[in-house]
């Protein structure tokens, strides 16, 4: 399965190397060549320098034969735009898009994108710990 990952930060590098390790054909796109240092030295996939909102860059990353596209740069708008390019122009069957802003995430989820919002997910986890801890203290008192 061909997977294109846009953004080689901590999340992008981790997802890419994990998928490659599991035998998938992975290409990682990032504007900064130094970002590829986050990949393990034995990373077998392709690394492409460029911005994933440019159709030509995505084409050279093999998007035309991709089954999955993952947009995980630090820019919400960049992820949103690239995800829509992957879906509308290249008909990629599975497109996943990270959006930090919960309101924006809600808008684009309604528009049909598969979205991941670290802000709501991480807050929920933290709150779960905090609220989970409060009644216990209450009981001890």
């Amino acid at each position: 399965m061909r997977v294109v990952v846009m953004g080689c930060g901590r999340v992008g590098a981790r997802v890419a190397s994990n998928l490659a390790h599991n035998g998938h054909d992975v290409a990682v796109v990032d504007t900064d060549p130094r970002a590829f240092r986050r990949l393990p030295p034995e990373f077998p996939g392709d690394t492409i320098i460029g911005t994933g909102i440019d159709e030509d860059v995505l084409r050279s990353a093999g998007i035309e034969s991709a089954t999955v596209f993952i947009a995980v740069t630090n820019g919400d708008n960049r992820n949103i735009m690239a995800a829509q390019v992957a879906r509308m122009i290249f008909d990629v069957p599975e497109v996943i898009c990270r959006i930090y802003d919960p309101v924006r995430e809600d808008t684009y989820r309604r528009l049909g994108l598969t979205t991941v919002c670290p802000t709501t997910t991480v807050s929920a986890m933290i709150l779960d710990h905090v609220i989970g801890a409060v009644p216990r203290r209450g009981l001890e008192d």
């Binding site: 909102i53 708008n77 735009m81 509308m88 122009i89 924006r104 808008t107 528009l111």
Partner: protein, 220 residues
């Protein structure tokens, strides 16, 4: 008319100035406080400091009652999200985006942006038009249905020279709108014969522009 302009760079600055001079109500949204201050020092209280791609900012800008939202930041992705948020969340009737990569014009329109302005394309076309004796010119892009207006000079070598328009096998969505011959402009009929030296003005679907070019100009 209430216009919201997003992006206070040079384009946003002069756009705001022009719209104010024409008597419109304008609010400029700029993320950078220094740039925002520069605009409010010049034009007064017409600036909101914030991220125009954020729904909260657009809400406090009164986007729900805006007639037009114009996104002119330097980043295509920001302009796209501003327009989509204005449309989806605030039902703004008209959204306009500045586009840096000309290829994004079509994408933006597919994604619901009403009007796109590509400076790159605009400059390219101006350069094309200023090169003398180019046999085929792209005059302008029409905003609906991806249509373009083009001009072609018929030469002695053209396969279509001395042929009546009815005899020419034009691409399907392509209409010859006018012929400029000497100092006269005529609306052609099927019987009108194309002569060397004619300037043919045609409206065509963008994806048939090349086919039309090959048909009308053998030497280009």
């Amino acid at each position: 008319m209430y216009n919201i302009v997003v992006g206070g760079g040079k384009v946003g600055f002069y756009l705001t100035k022009q719209l104010l001079e024409e008597g419109h109500e304008v609010l400029l949204i700029e993320r950078n406080p220094e740039k925002a201050n520069l605009v409010s020092d010049t034009f007064g209280a017409v600036v909101l400091t914030g991220d125009g791609a954020e729904a909260v900012t657009l809400a406090s800008a009164g986007a729900a009652r805006a007639d037009v939202v114009i996104a002119v930041t330097g980043e295509d992705e920001d302009n796209l999200v501003v327009c989509q948020t204005a449309r989806q969340k605030f039902h703004v009737a008209k959204t306009i985006a500045r586009v840096n990569n000309p290829k994004n014009e079509q994408l933006f329109r597919m994604l619901g942006v009403d009007v796109t302005v590509s400076q790159t394309n605009h400059i390219l076309h101006l350069i094309e038009q200023s090169i003398p004796d180019r046999p085929f010119l792209h005059l302008l892009s029409l905003r609906h249905a991806d249509l373009a207006m083009v001009e072609a000079r018929i030469t002695d070598e053209s396969v279509v020279a001395h042929k009546a328009i009815g005899e020419i096998d034009l691409p399907v969505d392509c209409v010859i709108a006018a012929i400029s011959r000497g100092n006269h402009v005529t609306v052609p009929t099927a019987a009108t014969e194309l002569l060397p030296g004619d300037d043919v003005i045609a409206v065509t679907r963008v994806d048939q522009e090349d086919e039309l070019r090959r048909l009308l100009c053998t030497d280009c």
